[in-house]
Amino acid sequence: MSSDALRRELDALSAEYRSRLPAKLAEIHALWFDLASGAIPAARVIDLRRELHSIAGSAKTFGVAAVGEIAAAAESLLDPFWQHGALPEPAGRAELTRLIDALQRAAATV
């Protein structure tokens, strides 16, 4: 594969990633809403942490650095809790809600 062909493939992957990002972030938003409202067990926080971790690692790679940084901040907020299947205290939850809302706003500008 030539460098031009690789560059074109990487550009196409980047475009595909960006097009799928809003739906992915909507899933994260819904997951957090269900967790915070008690609609699903707190143990599912492990899924939320993994989704945030995935976005934190991939968004910067595909040129959406702002989304990656917000996701990384949200992930680190969950760090003391997710292994115990617990949610943050109320102040932490409010901050997480703010970050997850910010994720969706950032995605809207992609």
Binding site: S2, L6, L10, L13, E16, R50, S54, G57, A59, K60
Partner: protein, 273 residues
Amino acid sequence: MVLKNPFIAFEHDVYALTRQGQEELRGGGTSLSAADLELLVRADGRATVAQIAASMQALPAQAVAQACVRLARAGLLDLATNLQDDSLDFTDFFSDKPRAAPSQEELARAKAEASTGVSSLKEQGYYVCIARRRILPHLPAIGGGRSAIVVEDDPQLGALLKACLESEGFSVRLAANRNEVLSALREPPLPDIVLLDVVLPDIDGFDVLLRMRQHQALKSVAVVMVTSQATREAVLKGLARGAEGYITKPVEPATLIKAVLAVLGVQEGPRVK
């Protein structure tokens, strides 16, 4: 399993090193000829007798076959299929059996490397320790290209890593979870390199690394961790468990390609800036 007779060689037969053969290559005092040593190196469990002959100039397949039989009689080679059950048994790969922790020596070395590695991470965005655990020199597979396994649960990121490796001639198998990792490792040929994410849905990449290093057939396969985890502790964990490289996300294609080729000792430059 029915063992085939290794003392009758055909052109399509595939030979591999026995444990004694591996020790012969590692030892410094071998009395084998240069041609026999080259044959031992090229009998990688993937190349057929005919492919080895084609790669060793001016040697007919018949002569290579005879040499394979001679080295098999000396206990240094066997048919790959005869060794397979011993080396490619994945029954316990993900079992919950206790696994040995890294030795104190490995930990001490990893600590020193992690300290310089984290500095390198900050300065260059990646850290590579070239083939410190590889025993045999890297040789491109005969009759075929290099192969790799990419373990990554983000589909777009997995596709990006795959594209980068394919641009350098690798054939790539993707795996995103525990079962897919097992399937990819079982599928021949053995990979030249594994790019390994840490946070996966149902398995920890560091655990996969440790189990590879304790597996007869996989312990010398190069592994590069590709992860968002860039703390000194994480780098230390990867190196202590035997990773040859450690690359942090976000992934920069040119850096990734450069690191992979450096780990494999391939003298090619990255094509993407």
